[in-house]
């Protein structure tokens, strides 16, 4: 009996790691972080006096120095108010994971990639920029929400909007397009996948693109007029197994993608590995974004080119190379203790001046229309490439169940494990749609 008991206890102990793993990250298990927020005297002050406003900001590691400058400017802009602002590191692409671990302990203001917006809104982590916030902005920053919406590009505002409500301030465009080496590929050859790949093969180089990703792969389908959507219950809608409004079938698009992937000059790139692949020197063209501008300049020479994705043939129709329009957003935690001031800070960190500063520090393309028309910004090849792509870029609406199935589908295209006959492709697409549109379990 004792042995059994000790065996059972042993199993309990083994499982403890497990329990710690799952319950440790439960929201609500930790008390709200009061020590970051010195207890304030309830003087009923008009915001502009007395109490110190404690705020925390999370931004990308590369943005830390910039954020420090901007925060100082923010303090200078409101000299009547004392602040205690703490800046933390949180990558924009992973912000959601840490915020949703415990919303009440997350930063007041945080930067995140727009694909996380639905999850953050669903968890109630974002403070909507509603009429009251409009009033706050008018009182203190002297601008209305309408001003902010019109100052930024339509797509960027759209990416921060869900169900007609604005949830965050856009501050940087983050889409993808194509870089290429003009010594191997001519501007005309870069216009379609067929000529591009043949030219690359002739030059003994390869064309790199990430296929195993719900972000990159979607470009093929969005370009052909297919859509994905986010339903109110958090599930995703998807029509890729049907026929698009422009008369192209999903089967044709998939077959075109399979053909591209099977070309000897095509190299499927692992998501996030594009910089390394460009550096390796085996590529003459790559689908990537402004974050790779410098690497591309080093590998392809200073006369490197950036343009929209090539078109491809689906059946007998030519389909333009589509892309997902993505943006980086600055949001305010719905559980912020000083939500009004947090809103003002988020707005400040994404205003025109800050966007210009961000471009000069990191070459990230602004979403602010007048910042983008700044001559130095407009002359940037990466920014121009993104602007060229924006004609064929769509906003991506998708729920949590979208990503893994599409990633796997892209990998199957990259590896060519889907047979290219109509029936097999249709069956594969049906499976994909079943997985993506499945109810949340």
């Amino acid at each position: 009996m004792k042995k059994k008991l000790s065996a059972l206890l042993l199993a309990f102990a083994m499982l403890f790691t497990l329990a710690a793993c799952s319950s440790g990250s439960n929201p609500g298990s930790a008390a709200p972080n009061d020590d970051d927020n010195p207890q304030q005297t309830q003087s009923g002050s008009q915001g502009g006096s007395g109490e110190t406003i404690a705020l925390r900001v999370w931004g990308a590691e590369e943005d830390q120095a910039l954020l420090k400058d901007l925060v100082e400017k923010f303090k200078a802009a409101y000299p009547d108010q004392t602040f205690s602002i703490e800046i933390g590191v949180e990558s924009e692409s992973k912000a959601k994971d840490d915020i949703l671990t415990d919303v009440t302990a997350a930063a007041d203001v945080f930067a995140f990639a727009c694909d996380q917006l639905p999850d953050l809104v669903a968890a109630g982590a974002l403070l909507p920029i509603d009429d009251q916030m409009d009033a706050v902005l008018q009182n203190y920053a002297n601008k209305t929400v309408a001003d902010i919406k019109s100052a930024n590009s339509e797509g960027s505002v759209g990416s921060a909007t869900l169900d007609g409500k604005l949830y965050a301030f856009p501050f940087s465009a983050d889409g993808y397009f194509m870089f290429y080496d003009p010594s191997v590929i001519s501007a005309d050859q870069a216009k379609s996948w067929d000529t591009l790949l043949d030219a690359a093969q002739a030059g003994g180089k390869k064309v790199g693109m990430t296929l195993a990703s719900g972000w990159y792969l979607a470009g093929f389908y969005y370009g052909a007029g297919f859509t994905t959507g986010l339903n109110a219950d958090g599930t995703t809608s998807m029509d890729w197994n049907g026929t698009s409004p422009s008369g192209v079938t999903g089967v044709q698009v998939t077959q075109a993608a399979l053909k591209i992937a099977a070309h000897p000059a095509f190299m499927p790139v692992i998501d996030g590995d594009s910089s390394n692949q460009i550096k390796s020197g085996s590529l003459c063209a790559v689908v990537s974004g402004c974050w790779d501008s410098q690497v591309a300049a080093e590998a392809f020479g200073d006369d490197y080119m950036a343009c929209r994705l090539p078109s491809f043939m689906a059946g007998d129709k030519e389909v333009p190379g589509g892309a997902v329009a993505s943006y980086k957003l600055m949001g305010v935690n719905a559980h912020s203790k000083n939500s009004g001031w947090a809103m003002l800070l988020a707005e400040f960190l994404s205003n025109e001046e800050s966007q210009v500063a961000r471009y000069s520090a990191r070459q990230l393309p602004p979403t602010n229309i007048s910042a983008a028309s700044d001559p130095a910004v407009a002359a940037d090849k990466g920014v121009a490439g993104l602007a060229d792509q924006s004609a064929n870029a769509s906003l991506q609406a998708a729920g949590g169940k979208y990503w893994d199935p599409v990633k796997s589908f892209g990998e199957q295209i990259a590896q060519g494990t889907i047979k290219s006959d109509d029936a097999s492709v249709q069956a594969a697409l049906d499976d994909l749609v079943a997985g993506v549109t499945a109810p949340l379990g």
Binding site: L10, M14, L15, C21, G47, D273, N338, D431, G435, L440
Partner: protein, 484 residues
């Protein structure tokens, strides 16, 4: 009275007093035969002690009772009444222009209700145990007084906890720790499996509630969830078990062989070799595994080296590259993970085996040698059975540890391995996932706490059943006697 008892009578009386050993029998006697103060002890925990002039104990018990009542009134009542629904008041916020702050209503947080209710139940359960034990204790005091025996002073009571009851003193802190950090989280984990705690129901913004056995039905393909969830569970479970068996036995035997080589008299520089193997332990797995992962990447160094070698030997044409999917294709990745794990795990087993081998029964080996046994016979009939016997329990824990071996699998495959099996992908699983890595992804990326809990329970049952069976099998019979 006390003076009247002789020493022999005294011993008999003490013997009479010793409880029957059955708690509930004692309790029954205490309730039926106890005097007013014993009975009063149910309401006022210090009553019995106060009556027998054990005032310190009376005060301590009264304070404890007050603490429990205060806990109940000030804390538990906020949560426990809501346990049936896990809360009904949705969080709502209003922005106050004056203070520039968001004001929240007094909303319910389902997770807090669950957590603090469980805590309250544990506290109350402990309190009931205290009351019952207390009854038995004060009845003993009553009997002692009736029989004219010595009643301990507070000082004497304290000193028993350093002497005959020292085990109680020693164990109380660990037991408290186990309850707080193992038992309560485990209860929560189990209870969450019966709720709809997921991304759509995340406190504090949204409430979650009880859903009965729905999640368990879903796990085994009862519908509601993706049709492939049950399939994925079966696939992941099979690989988990295959992995655990291979990972455990390869490193186990590898470690023993390695330490045998190192212990062999003819091995030169044994200490140097041993130190080199231990270096793999000293380097954090995060570093070494991530490096190995990049080393074996499709476009990684290893494929590059193979390409250059093959080109130089003329096996492949100039310009073609070898791209073996070491860690990116099913089958390949499975084998590679097990091989890489040998490299990671063998040094640990080597250290354990070295310790065991230094305690080998030398007399038996000597006599077998005299009887003319060969080296391999000695190994097979003496060394190995001995090592197996001594390290058997460790082998079982290793197996359970490998079922939950998160590091190796996660660090080697995360961000690299993409499944081409649509059915698995539709349930957020891959061919190389262990139950525990799948569970991690479900919670970390999809906030699917309820299904993660169900899988957690499944893992627990697997581990518990295996451990019980293995220990029973290993420790049955009289093997212990053979070696003593």
């Amino acid at each position: 009275m006390k003076a009247a008892t002789t020493s022999s009578e005294h011993i008999t009386l003490e013997r009479d007093l010793t409880s029957s050993g059955r708690f509930f029998t004692d309790l029954g006697t205490a309730i039926t035969k106890g005097d007013l103060f014993v009975k009063l002890s149910i309401l006022w925990w210090g009553a019995g002690y106060a009556r027998r002039k054990q005032f310190f104990k009376a005060i301590a018990m009264t304070l404890l009772e007050a603490a429990v009542i205060w806990f109940t009134v000030a804390f538990a009542v906020q949560y426990v009444p809501k346990i049936g629904t896990l809360g009904t008041v949705q969080a709502e916020q209003v922005f106050n222009m004056e203070t520039m702050k968001t004001e929240w209503n007094d909303y319910d947080d389902s997770f807090q209700i669950l957590l603090f209710s469980v805590l309250s139940f544990v506290v109350w359960f402990a309190a009931v145990l205290v009351v019952l034990k207390n009854l038995v204790n004060v009845y003993q005091l009553q009997r002692r007084e009736e029989l004219g025996l010595h009643i301990n002073t507070f000082k004497e009571d304290v000193s028993t906890y350093l002497n005959e009851k020292f085990h109680v003193t020693l164990l109380s802190l660990p037991v408290l720790g186990v309850v707080m950090f193992n038992v309560i989280p485990l209860f929560i984990l189990i209870l969450v499996a019966f709720t709809n705690y997921d991304q759509q129901h995340m406190p504090p913004t949204a409430l979650f509630t009880w859903t009965g056995l729905t999640n368990f039905i879903n796990l085994f393909g009862g519908g509601g969830l993706t049709l492939t969830f049950g399939y994925s569970f079966a696939r992941v479970l099979v690989w988990t078990l295959v992995w655990a068996v291979f990972a455990t036995f390869t490193t186990y035997f590898g470690g023993i062989l390695l330490s045998l080589f190192l212990n062999n008299k003819r091995t030169k520089f044994a200490k140097l070799w041993r130190a080199l193997f231990i270096v793999t332990i000293a380097v954090p797995q995060f570093v070494s595994l991530l490096l190995v992962r990049n080393f074996f990447a499709d476009n990684g160094i290893f494929n590059g080296m193979l390409t250059s070698a093959a080109t130089a030997l003329g096996i492949i044409a100039e310009g073609t590259t070898l791209n073996f999917p070491w860690l990116t294709a099913p089958g390949w990745a499975h084998v590679m993970i097990i091989i890489i794990n040998i490299w990671i795990g063998v040094p640990y087993q080597m250290l354990i085996a070295t310790g065991v081998l230094t305690n080998l029964p030398v007399d038996q080996i000597e006599s077998s040698r005299i009887d003319g046994a060969s080296t391999s016979q000695t190994f097979r009939y003496i060394t190995m059975p001995y090592v197996l016997f001594v390290t058997g329990p460790a082998l079982v824990t290793d197996f359970v540890k490998n079922i939950n071996n998160f590091n190796v699998i996660y660090l080697l495959t995360q961000d690299v391995y993409t499944t081409t099996n649509q059915a698995l992908a539709n349930s957020q699983a891959t061919e190389v996932d262990l139950l525990v890595t799948w569970l991690f992804r479900l919670t970390q990326d999809y906030y699917n706490y309820k299904m993660a809990s169900v899988i957690g329970i499944a893992v627990f049952i697997i581990c518990a059943v295996f451990t019980l069976v293995a220990f029973n099998f290993m420790l049955s019979g009289d093997k212990e006697g053979v070696y003593n």
